[in-house]
Assembly symmetry: C2
Homo-oligomer: 143 residues x 2
DNA sequence: CTAAGTGCAAAATGTTTGCATACTT
DNA sequence: AAGTATGCAAACATTTTGCACTTAG
């Protein structure tokens, strides 16, 4: 957990740039590879995965596991900034598959509750709420 | 979503029995196959996966996605009973990998909150909270 | 008898790993 | 120069799928 040499490589820069640019979007490892390929600045997928993992560790991006079949997706968080400031939660609709961002103070409370009452330090970055989104629930039948 | 003939097959019975018996435990598809193999009543893994999916649909078992690499795990919920009664949440420790059951009324509140304020119908069955468990956080260095 | 479920094995997919090479410091 | 990151391709693990056969209704 500390064997992090952290060289400043071109590939890492590119990845960070890409995530910074797509801030707010959910990017999969595949998306990254594809995007890079189309940009000419190809990066081996092994490197992509390795750097992604590292960037998550460094808190630069967040990783969200959707369902284990669908590839995990990543999202820019910030470089120096700490996530506490945004505390962004995610909700995944089980019907339409949509991933919803959610900024909510009430929800932030659960983090505290979990800590105070259960000794569990919640990582909102990785936690995804599953359920049915408004459209799918109310709307009725959907795609 | 309704092409469910639902025959009463031996395999299905066996699976339900197994989950009923292991109520409270987290079982992976692999666990099921392995267990069955050792019991002599082998069931093709394709069937296991297919039935597991079905049982989840029927609300007999719940499915929990852990990290996308680790196999998904399942857990008995009940046959006639509806999950609302137990509202069991799960917390996954990112360090030791432990999956913690959690019965908590406070947390149940978030379901309501999500619905009332965000129109999102939470599925506690599939939602897993990620973070660091008490032992790993307080204890210090761990396995 | 007909439709549905089963089982085998192969396929598909996302992610990880080994090793030689290129690059950072 | 020494150590790290990269890249390719093969390896892995889990889950899905095709198809012939068996079973439930």
């Amino acid at each position: 957990m500390s064997t992090r040499a952290n060289y400043k490589t071109k590939q890492k820069e590119i990845l960070i740039e890409y995530f910074k640019k797509t801030s707010g979007e959910h990017i999969t490892a595949g998306d990254v590879c594809e995007h890079l390929r189309s940009k000419g600045s190809t990066i081996g997928q092994a490197t992509v995965y390795r750097q992604l993992e590292r960037l998550v560790d460094e808190g630069i991006i967040g990783k969200y596991i959707i369902d284990g079949v669908t590839p995990a997706c990543f999202e820019y968080i910030g470089e120096g900034v700490h996530a506490d400031e945004k505390m962004c939660f995610h909700c995944k609709c089980e019907k339409c598959g949509k991933l919803i961002h959610m900024h909510c103070e009430e929800l932030e409370g659960i983090g505290e509750h979990l800590y105070e009452h259960h000794g569990f330090t919640l990582n909102p970055m990785r936690t995804v709420f599953y359920g049915i989104c408004e459209e799918c629930a109310g709307g009725g039948t959907q795609a």
